[in-house]
């Protein structure tokens, strides 16, 4: 496994020591979980949802009970400007 590539996909930064440590730990973990390949699942469907719910819809209506005010929505941000979240520039 290319640990640095995976870290880039996950938007994480690793130190060299972490890269080395994770590489060996991941190979141990993957060999432990490989045990599931002993079981035959050729005719077995996938389970995504354990209680059998499918297609749970709600009415397409605005529920004011769960809307934050602009002030509340911004209240936890370290960096705001004129009522907006500020982010780093993407384009130079």
């Amino acid at each position: 496994m290319d640990v640095r590539h995976i870290a880039r996909l996950a938007n994480l930064t690793l130190t060299d020591a972490e890269s080395r440590k994770f590489t060996s730990q991941f190979s141990d973990t993957l060999s432990t979980i490989d045990v599931i390949n002993e079981l035959d699942t050729s005719d077995t469907p996938i389970t995504y949802q354990v209680t059998g719910l499918t297609n749970c819809f709600r009415e397409d209506k605005i529920d004011t009970g769960r809307i934050l005010t602009q002030q509340a929505a911004l209240s936890n941000s370290a960096s705001i400007h004129n009522g907006y979240f500020m982010v780093s520039a993407i384009f130079e």
């Binding site: 996909l9 994480l12 432990t32 599931i36 699942t41 996938i46 995504y48 354990v50 719910l53 529920d63």
Partner: protein
């Protein structure tokens, strides 16, 4: 005998409150004093609710949880009370709204006393991966409390609150409850809303109560369970009446004892579980030896599914709208996010994620078959008693190995309980039962019978 108010169960405290023997402020004050006295040693709490005393003064004590101080695991959003999931990523996060569980507790009159420590992001079974330092086991502070709801279990065991809320993805309510000798109940997946709970693995996360006895677990479950329009995965199945009468006459239940699970137990723990099985037999039930798919396969399924869902759920944390940026994730979180990213990546998806979800189907079918022969199954919450502080360090699969016996039921969405079941060298051990989905009432009634015939739950740590 004059008992300290903090040592009361919910049912005892409600009687005292209603008859005017003490006020909700006095009850809360007793718990707060206990926290001040002990929490430098145990470290069960991350934050306290500074407004709790004012809130205690204004509650309606006639409500089901009126005036009862309850501690909340720090992954449940609490309006205006800092919520960190024990991660420095969320060190400064003050939620703008309540999780549904907290809203329901408040509506029932509960007073939120504070937020309890946990493995950061619920990643673990030791409470040792918390970015705020580990919680220690009240029975022996050289030992771990278990986890990830270790702060909640330790707080209840040390009488710092009357009850607590935990969350379980696989074992995170039942295992710390077993290690701290309290009652931990995990309802069916989808029975209790996940709205406002900081997500770990969304297909298995289940909130549940940690209490001093089975009656209190039933009472809290009744308050927090039910369909929630804010969580599409909650079930519309009606919640049965969980307020159990004092005397249960239920007999003749068929209780399965899976031989593959007994094999995993350490010898002394096996004896504790066999003693508990004998007790259930004495109470008029039938113990039937059964065979289930070996729990070692669940480790593989759970690890893949949980890491995959973690990688997706934790991708939202960018430090822009709240909290700190991704450089604040600790090693355990980075490991889990990365392994999940790998399992879901192009070329590996079928081999890991899809395969795991198919084996999950096999395990669920295995339980369905078992429940056609038995009404309940004995499911030991942990292979042994609490391990020593430091045991989880440098063990990337510590949690998965510790939770081997509860992973099958968790990935199948089944309800389960851990009740105090005995001691090995002064360290407590839990006795566990699981049942079919949405049969919480059957489990609670059987657990209450066991509790009525034993006194393990009445024993308290010396602090």
């Amino acid at each position: 005998m004059n008992r300290n108010l903090h040592s009361f169960s919910i049912s005892e405290a409600r009687e005292g409150l209603k008859s005017g023997k003490f006020s909700s402020r006095e009850l809360l004050k007793s718990c707060l004093d206990r926290i001040m006295q002990l929490d430098t040693k145990i470290h069960a709490f991350v934050s306290l609710n500074e407004k709790a005393l004012d809130e205690a003064d204004s509650v309606d004590i006639n409500k089901p949880l009126g005036g009862i101080p309850i501690a909340i695991k720090d992954n449940f959003l609490t309006h205006n009370i800092r919520t960190t999931a024990s991660s420095k990523v969320l060190d400064t996060y003050i939620p703008q709204y309540d999780s549904t569980v907290v809203k329901n507790l408040k509506n029932a009159g509960a007073v939120i006393i504070g937020k309890t420590n946990m493995d950061s992001w619920a990643h673990g079974s030791s409470t040792e991966t918390s970015d705020y330092g580990p919680t220690l086991n009240p029975w022996n502070t050289r030992h771990l409390p278990g986890g990830s709801s270790g702060g909640s279990a330790a707080a209840v065991a040390a009488d710092m609150c009357l009850a607590a809320i935990g969350s379980e993805t696989a074992g995170s309510v039942r295992q710390p409850s077993a290690w701290c000798s309290v009652t931990g109940f995990k309802p069916t997946y989808g029975r209790v809303s996940r709205y406002g709970v900081i997500a770990m693995a969304s297909s298995t996360d289940s909130p549940g109560p940690i209490t001093k006895n089975v009656e209190d677990a039933a009472l809290i479950t009744g308050v927090i369970a039910g369909k929630d329009p804010f969580d599409a995965t909650t079930s519309s199945q009606p919640v049965p009446n969980l307020l159990i009468p004092k005397k249960i006459k239920q007999t003749g239940l068929r209780i399965g004892l899976p031989k593959e699970y007994l094999e995993v137990l350490e010898p002394a723990s096996r004896q504790v579980i066999l003693n508990a099985a004998k007790k259930m037999e004495d109470l008029g039930h039938r113990i039937i030896e059964i065979s289930l798919i070996h729990p070692k396969y669940s480790i593989g399924v759970y690890t893949i599914v949980q890491r995959s869902e973690v990688s997706s759920n934790l991708s939202r944390y960018d430090g822009i709208r709240y909290g700190n940026n991704r450089s604040f994730f600790n090693q355990e979180a980075k490991r889990r996010i990365m392994l999940g990213t790998f399992a879901l990546s192009s070329g590996y998806y079928d081999h890991y994620y899809a395969k795991a979800q198919k084996v999950r189907t096999l395990i669920m079918r295995d339980f369905e078959k078992a429940f056609s022969r038995v009404d309940l199954i004995i499911d030991p919450p942990s292979p042994g008693p609490a391990l020593k502080v430091g045991a989880s360090l440098n063990a990337p699969m510590f949690g998965e190995m510790q939770d081997i016996l509860v992973e099958p039921s968790s990935i199948s969405g089944l309800p389960g309980i851990s009740v105090p079941g005995g001691f090995i060298d002064q360290l407590p051990l839990g006795f566990g039962l699981i049942g079919p989905q949405f049969h919480e009432d059957r489990i609670l009634e059987a657990a209450l019978q066991y509790q009525s015939a034993t006194n393990w739950h009445e024993q308290k740590p010396i602090l």
